[in-house]
Subunit: 214 residues, 2 copies
Amino acid sequence: MLTLYGDLDSGNVYKARLLLAQLGISYRRVDTTQNRGEPATAEFRAINPIGKIPTLVFDDGRILAESGAILFYFAQGSRFWPEDDWDQAQVLRWMFFEQYSHEPYIAVNRHWKLHLPAAEQAALAERMATNHTRGLQALEVMEQRLSGADWLAAGTYTIADIALFAYTHTAGEGGFDLQPYPGIRRWLVRVRTQPGHIPQMREEPGVPVTMWPG
Amino acid sequence: MLTLYGDLDSGNVYKARLLLAQLGISYRRVDTTQNRGEPATAEFRAINPIGKIPTLVFDDGRILAESGAILFYFAQGSRFWPEDDWDQAQVLRWMFFEQYSHEPYIAVNRHWKLHLPAAEQAALAERMATNHTRGLQALEVMEQRLSGADWLAAGTYTIADIALFAYTHTAGEGGFDLQPYPGIRRWLVRVRTQPGHIPQMREEPGVPVTMWPG
């Protein structure tokens, strides 16, 4: 059985969980969390040298890391990956945008707000303000697209939507108000009503879980 | 003719230039640079809302952004993109790693060292030190792979190698010494000896250039 290393608090892990759930692929999960520093340990780096979650291990020992690569691999041949080259490039464009221009601001502020004591947050105030500005820019880019289109790419629900949903639907926890973005809010509802969606990020019916190191 | 917006100083632009050169695809370039703040202008955002280079515009008006998506699109059907799903996922895994765990540290320190006055660099000393540590971790991950393999993925030269070459071969300009990484240094030589390689990042024989806004 496929083993997913990661926790229920990580949007990057949630992306993999969402796609596996929607494809009906079963897996077990080893609860491995950045909040306890586990992915950075030598023991974890022996599995994935990058030291990050999500990391997937197959029965034959092969490993797959990077949420974008995991989404790509499992989406092949499914309705979540379009057939046309141009559409595929647009899906990846949004996925690279997410990792480079969205996640480092929106997810990082959320992580700090959820997990750092107030004093440490205060020390990071300037960086959090910069992140906030850049995160709003990322939301503007999404809004510009989603005010006139149902989906990010290819005219249908794809792994680009899964990738962006993860840290956009929890943006409020990072201090980002989605009220000014009606296109994004309508899109969040569309994503949530897809068959097999996991409505609560911390919910995982039927997945066997053990604690790190598993 | 294809129009590439970007400058000769950007590794992300260099990735696109390298692949187009190796595929023998001609294009014109509009010199658009972050050093003059051009990608962030409203005029540029009308072309690419993300406000970043490289941006490619096709004759029919379609645009393609994000270096990773550009590499993916043009590599389709070429020797730079493997046929097997698993190999493809590994190529993308390295490309996502580059954008998330390599470029934000190694390219950012290079950019600051090349373009910021000493006083501004001094004000960023703490962030540059953190970036340096994380950049070294990224180089360690590459070294671990390249000490035992000729190429990053798929057993052959792919767009993963193009993506990682860009900011690794200029890492010295960001204060990263490659001497401790013999696997990386041998790989840099292998990449440089690929047919059609552009040996100097600031060299572009035969490409018509106009200054922004073109």
